[in-house]
C-alpha cells in the first residue's frame, strides 16, 4: 500500500523543459494494478539444517512449496504430538493454510511454557537454555537456546510454547531460564517428550498434560475456488460522476445527466455481439413499467462502434433494441465516455481491470455512483438497490461481511479522478468537474497541484487569463506553493499581452519560491531571469540566466540549457523574453 498517492506529471509550461524520464517506479506499480504478475508464481522455500554449517533445500520434499504468495508464518505444536505444525497467511487464496507436521522420526522434543512473576507475565524476552546429554555417551553435551518472542518474521506471531527438538538425546541435564532482565533460574527433573510450565521463582518445572489428542484431521489438497468476473459492487465512495456524453442513433450529441437530473439512472453499456447483454436488455424492457414506477431511468449505450476487434454493422444495435422491445433512452457510447468510465473504475478499485460488457452503473439522484454491476443485473436486484439507494453507500450494506469499523472512511476524494481526467486530456471536463466539486476537492492535500495542472493546460491552449486564475487559486490555498509561484511568475514575465504582465509581482513570486526551495534551481532561475528582464534589470537577468545554464548543464539538461542561452542573448541585448 501507500503507493496510492496522487499521480503527478511534469507539465513544461516554462523555464526548463522536462527532459528527464518519468518516475518509473510508478509505471511498474500501474502495471501491477493492471493485473500483471510481479515475481508471482514463486513457491515457498525451506532449508534443512544439516549441522556443521550447511543447509539442504527441502522445499518440495517437505511439502512446503505452495505458490500462495505467502506472507506470514506462525509456528505451534497444534496437536501436541511433539513437533512443530505451521500456520501460513497468504496473499492468494486460501489466505490461510494449516500444515500439520507428520514426519516420522526417532527424535525427541521438549516443550515449555513460561510464566513471569516479577517480569512480564508472558515472559516475552526470556531465554531458555536446554542442556542435553548426547545418546550413548556421545562426546560433548549440547546446549540449545531459544528466546520467547512476540512478533517476528513478517507480520506474524508464533505460539508462546517454546519447542525444542532434541534429536536422539534421551536425557535432559538442565534447563536454565534467563528471565527478562537477566536473572537466571534453573529447573531440574525435566524428561524428554514432555510439556512443562516453568513459573518464575517456583524452582520446579510443572509437568503439563496436553488435552486428549483429537482424531487427526483429514489431509486434502486445497486450491483457491475459481473467481468470476461478475460482481455487484456498492461504491460507498460517494463519488460524483465526471461529465459523460453519448450520441443518439440519429447522430445527435447528448450530455448524460441533463435529461436525468434528480432521478436515479442506470447507465448500461452493451454490445450487439454480447449475448448476456441482450438477455439483460430484454428483461429491462419486459419490466419497464416496474422500473418507471420505481423512478429509475435506463440509458442503454451501445459500444458497437468502439470495439476495434469486432466489426459490427451500425444498424445492428438499433435493430436489436427494437427486437427485444427496448424503448428507453439509447445511443452510442463514445470513446471518451468509455475511457472516462474506465478511469472512474480505476479510481474506485486499486486493481485496474479493463471494462467488459455488460457493465452497468447505477447513479443516484445526486449524480454519484452508487452501484457498479459487472455482468448482467437482474431487474429484481436493480429494484432492490433503487429502493435502498440512500442507505446503500453510507452503511455497512456496502460490504460483503459484517464487522466493526474503528475509523470508517465516508468517501473517496474525487481528486485522483480529476487528476486522471486532466492527465488524459479531458481539460474541459476537468474544469467542469472541479467547479462542481470544489468543496470536496479543497480538502485534498494535493489540490494546488491539480489547479496548477489545469492552469498549465489552459496556458498551453493559449488561454493565459484562465491559467493565471488557476495559478492564483493554487496560491490562495497554499501561498508558498513553489510550482504555482514559478509558473505564475513565468506568465507574468513573458506573456506577449502586456495587460497580463506584471514584472514586479513576478520577481516577488519567484524570489520567494527560490528562497523556499533550491532544488529546482535551473527552472526557477530561468523564470527569475525572465522576471528581472521584464522589470528591465537586464544585467541581473543575464547573471541569473548564466547561473541557470550552468546548473542545467551540470544536471544533463542540454536542451533546456540551449533555450536559456537563447534568452540570455536577448537579455544581453537589453530585451525581455516573450513566450510564443
Amino acid at each position: 500500500m501507500s503507493h496510492g498517492g496522487s499521480p503527478v506529471s511534469n507539465a513544461a509550461t516554462s523555464g526548463v523543459a522536462q527532459e528527464q524520464g518519468a518516475p518509473l517506479g510508478a509505471t511498474l506499480h500501474e502495471m501491477v494494478r493492471r493485473g500483471r504478475a510481479f515475481s508471482g508464481h514463486e513457491r515457498n522455500c525451506s532449508f534443512l539444517n544439516l549441522g556443521g554449517g550447511k543447509f539442504a533445500n527441502v522445499s518440495s520434499v517437505c511439502g512446503f512449496d505452495f505458490p500462495d504468495d505467502g506472507r506470514a508464518i506462525a509456528l505451534c505444536d497444534w496437536d501436541f504430538d511433539g513437533d512443530l505444525d505451521l500456520w501460513l497467511a497468504n496473499r492468494n487464496g486460501p489466505q490461510v493454510r494449516f500444515l500439520r507436521n507428520d514426519l516420522a522420526t526417532s527424535h525427541h522434543f521438549l516443550a515449555v511454557r513460561l510464566e513471569g512473576k516479577t517480569c512480564n507475565r508472558d515472559a516475552i524476552g526470556a531465554r531458555v537454555e536446554v542442556t542435553v546429554v548426547p545418546p550413548q555417551g556421545g562426546d560433548a553435551r549440547q546446549k540449545l537456546i531459544k528466546t520467547l518472542r512476540a512478533g517476528e518474521g513478517f507480520l506474524a506471531q508464533s505460539s508462546k510454547w517454546l519447542h525444542f527438538g532434541l534429536g536422539e538425546a534421551t536425557e535432559i541435564e538442565q534447563v536454565t531460564v534467563r528471565w527478562p532482565g537477566g536473572e537466571a533460574e534453573e529447573f531440574g527433573n525435566l524428561a524428554v517428550d514432555g510439556h512443562y510450565h516453568l513459573v518464575q521463582h517456583h524452582g520446579a518445572a510443572q509437568f503439563w498434560s496436553p488435552p486428549k489428542r483429537p482424531e487427526p484431521l483429514e489431509p486434502s489438497e486445497l486450491v483457491e475456488p475459481k473467481s468470476t468476473d461478475h460482481a455487484r459492487v456498492i461504491s460507498a465512495a460517494q463519488l460524483p460522476l465526471p461529465p459523460l456524453d453519448y450520441e443518439s442513433f440519429e447522430g445527435k450529441q447528448h450530455q448524460l445527466g441533463q435529461t436525468t437530473a434528480g432521478r436515479p439512472v442506470l447507465i448500461n453499456l452493451w454490445a450487439s455481439w454480447c449475448r448476456p447483454c441482450l438477455g439483460e436488455l430484454r428483461e429491462l424492457s419486459d419490466r419497464k413499467s416496474e422500473l418507471a414506477a420505481a423512478g429509475v431511468d435506463i440509458v442503454a449505450l451501445s459500444v458497437d462502434r468502439l470495439d476495434t476487434q469486432k466489426a459490427t454493422a451500425t444498424t445492428a444495435a438499433p435493430e436489436l433494441l427494437k427486437n427485444v422491445g427496448y424503448t428507453g433512452t439509447a445511443g452510442w457510447a463514445t470513446l471518451a465516455t468509455t475511457e472516462k468510465l474506465q478511469l472512474l473504475q480505476d479510481h474506485l478499485f486499486d486493481l485496474h481491470q479493463p471494462m467488459s460488457v455488460p457493465t452497468s452503473l447505477l447513479i443516484d439522484a445526486q449524480g454519484q455512483l452508487a452501484v457498479l454491476y459487472r455482468g448482467p443485473v437482474t431487474v429484481d436486484q436493480l429494484l432492490a438497490d433503487v429502493a435502498e439507494l440512500s442507505d446503500l453507500t453510507t452503511t455497512a450494506k456496502s460490504l460483503p461481511f459484517e464487522g466493526r469499523w474503528h475509523t470508517r472512511r465516508a468517501r473517496l476524494s474525487p481528486h485522483d479522478l480529476a487528476w486522471q481526467l486532466v492527465e488524459h486530456g479531458y481539460l474541459d471536463e476537468t474544469i467542469d468537474y472541479i467547479e462542481r466539486n470544489r468543496k470536496l476537492l479543497e480538502s485534498h492535500y494535493n489540490i494546488p497541484k491539480l489547479l496548477v495542472l489545469v492552469g498549465n493546460g489552459q496556458l498551453a491552449r493559449g488561454n493565459a487569463k484562465s491559467a493565471i486564475s488557476y495559478y492564483r487559486d493554487a496560491l490562495r490555498i497554499d501561498v508558498n506553493y513553489g510550482e504555482a509561484q514559478n509558473n505564475l511568475a513565468w506568465v507574468l514575465s513573458t506573456h506577449p499581452d502586456a495587460s497580463l504582465r506584471d514584472g514586479k509581482e513576478a520577481v516577488r513570486l519567484v524570489e520567494a519560491a527560490i528562497r523556499a526551495d533550491s532544488r529546482n534551481a535551473a527552472s526557477m532561475l530561468d523564470t527569475l531571469a525572465a522576471a528581472y528582464a521584464e522589470v528591465e534589470q537586464y544585467e541581473q537577468a543575464a547573471l541569473v540566466a548564466k547561473r541557470a545554464i550552468e546548473i542545467a548543464k551540470s544536471s544533463g539538461l542540454q536542451e533546456s540549457a540551449k533555450r536559456i542561452e537563447e534568452r540570455l542573448k536577448l537579455y544581453e541585448a537589453g530585451q525581455p523574453y516573450r513566450d510564443q
Binding site: 500500500m1 501507500s2 503507493h3 496510492g4 523543459a17 518509473l24 517506479g25 509505471t27 502495471m31 501491477v32 504478475a37 510481479f38 515475481s39 508471482g40 522455500c45 525451506s46 534443512l48 539444517n49 554449517g53 533445500n57 527441502v58 522445499s59 520434499v61 512446503f64 506472507r71 505451521l86 496473499r91 486460501p94 489466505q95 494449516f98 514426519l103 522420526t105 526417532s106 527424535h107 517480569c119 512480564n120 507475565r121 507480520l155 506471531q157 532482565g181 489431509p219 486434502s220 486445497l222 483457491e224 449475448r275 438477455g279 476495434t308 476487434q309 427486437n323 481491470q353 467488459s356 460490504l399 460483503p400 464487522g403 474503528h406 475509523t407 468517501r411 485534498h444 494535493n446 533546456s560
Partner: protein, 666 residues
Amino acid sequence: MSRRRKSKRSEQTPDRRDSKVAGNSSSQSETGWNWILLVGLLFVAVGVGYWILRDQSNQTAEQIQLESKADAGNRTQSSIKTVSAITQDPLPVLATDIVLKEQELSENQLDPGQDGWETEVVAEEVKHLLTRLAGRLGNHDVEPLTPSEIAEGITVGRLRPQNLAEVYRDGGENGAIAVLRAAESSEGGTTAEGYEALTRAIEELAEPFAEATDVHVHFKVIRVSGSEQVTETTAYFEADAKTPTGSLQQRATWICQWQRSPEGALQLASIDSKDFEEVVERGPWLVDCTKAMMEKNRSFQEQLAYGLNHWLLRLGRVHGIHVFARNGMSLGDVNGDGRDDVYVCQPGGLPNRLFIQQDDGTVLDRSKESGVDWLDHTSSALVVDLDNDGDQDMVAATSAGLLVMENDGSGKFRLRSTLATRDIDTQSFSAADFDNDGDLDLYVCIEFARPGSLHSEAEVAFVYHDANDGAANVLFRNDIEAGGKWEFADVTKEVGLDADNRRHSLACAWEDYDNDGDQDLYVANDYGQNCLYRNDEGKFKNIALEANVVDSASGMSVSWGDYNHDGWMDLYVANMFSSAGNRITRQEQFKSGKDDELKKIYSRFAKGNTLLQNDGQGVFREVSSETGVEMARWAWSSVFADINNDAWDDLLVANGYITTDDTGDL
C-alpha cells in the same frame, strides 16, 4: 475522440514535491527509479496481455441478430437467455483503441529486447532450451533438444556426480530424510564429448526419477556473459517429484556455454554442473489439513478461501484495500483453555477473523462475539498479556493506529486505547519489555509516510538503496496502571530510536544478541539500510554498521536463532532474490558511468536472503552463500524452526510477491 492524448499514466508519482513545473531534481530519477524499472520490468510479464486472452466471446453480432429476430416473434420460447438463466461465463472485454494502445505501449516497455538488454532475450531462450534438455526427467510435454541444437564436439560434465555421498540422514535406519552430495574433493567427475555423452549425462540425472510421478523441472538463469560468439550462462536447476515411497528433489547450478549456429540459433557447446544436491524423503512431512481445519466456517468458505485479487475487484479503495496490501496472523490462547487460537488479519473492508480451537482440533470463527472483527485494514496483530493479569490481550496494527484490546478472561475483548501513529502504513510489530519494568512495550514498523503529510525536515529525495524518507517507526512504552487507564507513551525519541528511523521498515524482532540481559532490536528496512539498535540500560544506539548487519537489500523479515549451537543468536533476514536483477546488475550497461561501489550495492540487492552469524564479540559474519540459504526467491516471513526435531533450527521462507492470471511472469 480526437481529444485523447497519448497516455500519461507512466508519469505518475506519489506526491507533490516531485511535481515542480520544470522539475529537474536529478537525484530522484537517476538513482531512485532506474533500478526499480529495470528489474521490475523484467520481473513483470513479457507476453500477451492477458485480458485480451480472457475474451472468449465468439458470438457474432449477426448470429445474435438472427436469434433476437426469431425471438421477437416468439416471446415464449426465448433463445436469448434471460439474466437469471445466464451462467457466470467470463465476460467479453471491450477492446477499444485506447485499451489496445495502452496494452501495446506496456508490452513494448516490457520487451527487454527493445531496451538494449539483449542478454535478457538470451536468458529467456536459454531457459527454454534447458527445460527441453531436462524434459527426460519426466516432463514429456516438451520437445527434446535436436542434434542441430547441440554443437558438434560438445563438452559434457557429469550432471549427477558419480561420487555421491550421503551427507545427512535423519533418524538412523528408519530415517525419513537423506541428503546426497558429491564428495567435495572431486565434484562432477570426468567430462566427455559429443551428443551421446550429453544423452548419457541426462540419463544419469534422470535415473532416480525412473518411477517418479508429478515431476517438475525449473530453471532460473542468474548470469549471462560472454561475447557474440560464445555466451556463458549460469542457471539454477531444480527438479522435484513424487516417488512410490515419498518424494525426491534435485538442485544444482548448471554452467553452460553456447554458440550461434550459422542460422543464428543458440547451440549448446558445453555443460557442467556444480553444487549438486539430491534429497530423498520417505513418508509424509508437512501435510495440508486446511480444509478439515476450516471448512465448518462460512468465513473461510466465503472470505478467506479467496485471495486478494478476488477481493480487490469487489471492494473499493475507500475501504482501505490495496494491491500491495499485506496481512498477517497471530497465534495465542485467547480463552485460557491451554490451546492456541488463531487471529487472521485482513485488508480494509473485510473483517479480521478470530478462530477458536475446539476439542477436535478444528477451529470455529468467534470474531464477532469476541469483539475483534475489525474492518479497518489490519497488517498484523499480537496476542500478549499487557496488564499482567494472566489473560491474553490483543493489539491490532491497523490503518487507524494500534488498537489495544483488553481480554476479560474469557476471550472477549474491549478496546482500551487507540495508539495513533503519524503515518498509517503499519507493517510488523513486536512486543518486549525494553526497560525491564515488568510490562510489555510495543515497537511498530511503518513503511511509507502518509502522502501529503511530508515532514519538511526530511524532504530528501528517495534513494532506493539508502532511503531516508519513509515513515517513522514508534516505540510505545506501556504505562498501564492496574485497574486504571490503558496508557502508552511514545518514547521513540527519548530512548534514541529516532535515529535512522525513516527507512521504510517492514519487520522487526527483539533479541538479546549480546547476552547482557536486555532486549536489543533489529529492524529490516525495505529501501533503507537495516538497523541493529543495541539496548544500553533503556537507551538505544544503532550499531548495525560496526556489527556488520547493515545487509543493504530489501529487508522484509527478521528471525533470530542459534543455528550453529554456539550459544549466540544468529540472524536470518529476508530479502528479494531476483534472477533478472542478478543478470542485469552484473552487466556493463547497468548504471554505466556510475561508480563501482554503487554497482555492487545494486547487485547485492538482488542476491537473496542473508544469514548473519553472531561471533559473540559483537560482530556478525555473513554466511548466506556458504551455508546455502541465500537463494530463497521473493521472500517474506523467513524464520528459524526445527521442523524435524533434530535440534538444529531449519529455515522456512514464505514466498511470492503478486501472482495473477498473467502467466508471463518469471
